[in-house]
């Protein structure tokens, strides 16, 4: 069996007395594209944030190549430089141009040369169609453009896994397509991705595995062909029927 890159073991998270995640178990293997779907408040985003250690779980652990990522800053930094994240609200650095945004991580964290960082930034910005905008600042860009730059910024780090936290939820409908297309292309390159999304059509087409979450539990974890057409759990059925109808 192929070794998993990330393994989540009995992960739990509660805010105060409110349990958001309960006994989450799943693992991510190289090349997998995992879409996590579920209604709002089901814990999808919290799970993703726990995986990136922006949230600290209250139970269980996150393993990276079989080794626990402890809550120690140096370990977290090293781990994060390998596990990229794309946010719902883009989080591009407002004080930097598009180019600087894409070079910040490679220069300051990976310490690669200026020339190489520049080449990488241009290559990935070309990939997402944003290379002409290297001199622009985030305030100059539309939502879809910002998100594409954010994806390029994450790619510059050459991540082993890329996490997407509802990357299209803050976008106007006509901009959703341009971002989803970029992500589809990325999936084809074999990049390992975990995507929290409300785009069911996208999840069905692109994912190699789809996870349905409800009330902090993983209800169903299956290949999209089965999960979308023949779900086993009544909750999944109900959720999907609501989505397909509405």
């Amino acid at each position: 069996m192929e070794e998993s890159i990330i393994q989540i073991v009995e992960l739990g998270k509660s805010f105060g007395g409110h349990e958001v995640l309960r006994k989450i178990d799943f693992s991510v293997k190289k090349g997998e594209v995992i879409c996590i779907v579920g209604s709002s408040g089901s814990g999808k985003s919290t799970l993703l944030r726990c995986i990136n250690r922006l949230e600290h779980q209250t139970a269980g652990k996150v393993l990276y190549h079989g080794k626990e990522v402890r809550d120690v800053q140096r370990e977290i930094n090293a781990y994060r430089s390998k596990v990229g994240m794309v946010f719902q609200s883009f989080n591009l650095f407002n004080n930097m141009s598009v180019l600087k945004n894409c070079m910040a991580g490679t220069r300051k964290v990976l310490h690669i040369s200026k020339e190489e960082a520049y080449d990488r930034a241009i290559a990935h910005l070309k990939e997402v169609g944003m290379a002409p905008y290297i001199n622009a600042y985030p305030a100059h860009l539309s939502g879809g453009q910002k998100q594409r730059v954010a994806i390029a910024r994450a790619l510059c780090m050459n991540p082993e896994v890329l996490l997407f936290d509802e990357p299209t939820s803050a976008l106007d409908p006509e901009m959703v397509g341009e971002v989803l297309n970029v992500m589809k292309e990325l999936a084809k390159t074999g990049l390992t991705m975990i995507i929290v999304t409300h785009e069911m059509g996208f999840a069905r087409d692109v994912s190699t595995r789809t996870i349905f979450m409800d009330k902090g539990y993983i209800v169903e974890d299956d290949v999209p062909e089965t999960l979308f057409t023949n779900p086993k759990n009544p909750r999944t059925k109900e959720f999907l029927s609501r989505f397909m109808a509405g």
Binding site: I76, N91, F93, A104, G105, K108, V109, I134
Partner: protein
């Protein structure tokens, strides 16, 4: 005409002002210089101190950090908090007396100008710490998270992403603080610093012309503040985001 003014007794307040300004020009120059010296140096060092404390207050420890690290961070934060509280809650004029005479009593050989700067620094640092804390808080947490997600340490994220943005937001408040300091140095006359207020007091006493003498330094204070205010506005404008950007046409193909 000026000769007559200088030798004869001036007839009105304007005449007295000109007379005093001319006769004690050197004293007023010296007073202006000391006021500026103490205000600028005190403010600048105070800013640095405020930034340091503001950043320290923002440090977050992880649950699995060593007990030693957590204890040290807590202690430093506590000391900073107490310092800020004390200096914000007492008048500068009282601080000046306590610090100057306190140091004297403890046989610390501190000069009057140095004591004046020290008081200004401590006062500015306390206010600036709060301003920096608020400035950091005004930056969307997503900015920090974006940096952390790239693997930056919290400190690196602070210095490359959060602080540069906070700094821009804080500039008007920094200008405010500096102008306040420029005027507040006047209280340092209580420890014998021969800044503008002290100069006016001395000059006034010579001819019993209080109104005119203080009016002279009011004009000087006004001109100084006016001038510095314009400089700060210019800096703010310089740092504002450009409205346009240049498309990199070399990458326009096959987009």
């Amino acid at each position: 005409m000026m000769g007559i003014l200088a030798s004869a007794t001036p007839e009105n307040s304007v005449g007295w002002m000109l007379f005093l300004a001319k006769k004690y020009m050197n004293s007023f120059w010296k007073g202006t210089w000391i006021t500026l010296y103490v205000a600028v140096l005190g403010t600048l060092i105070g800013f640095v101190m405020g930034y340091l404390i503001g950043i320290v207050q923002d440090i977050r420890v992880n649950r699995e950090d060593s007990i030693l690290k957590r204890a040290v961070v807590r202690l430093i934060k506590l000391v900073c908090e107490i310092y800020v509280e004390i200096f914000r809650d007492t008048p500068m004029i009282v601080q000046a007396m306590i610090i100057y005479y306190g140091l004297r009593q403890a046989d610390v050989a501190i000069g009057i100008p140095a004591a004046g700067i020290l008081v200004t620094v401590l006062n500015t640092g306390a206010y600036m710490a709060e301003t920096v804390r608020a400035g950091i808080g005004s930056i969307d947490n997503g900015q920090r998270e974006g940096a952390l997600a790239l693997g930056m340490s919290p400190m690196l994220a602070m210095f490359t992403v959060v602080l540069p943005q906070a700094f821009k937001n804080i500039i008007p408040e920094m200008a405010n603080l500096f102008l306040t300091n420029l005027k507040m140095t006047s209280v340092l006359n209580v420890i014998g610093l021969s800044e503008l207020f002290m100069t006016a007091k001395t000059v006034a006493g010579n001819y019993y012309k209080y109104f005119e003498s203080y009016l002279i330094i009011a004009v000087i204070y006004f001109v100084l503040c006016f001038f510095f205010n314009k400089i700060f506005l210019l800096i703010e404008k310089k740092l504002a985001l450009k409205k346009d950007y240049i498309l990199a046409v070399e990458y326009m193909d096959n987009q």
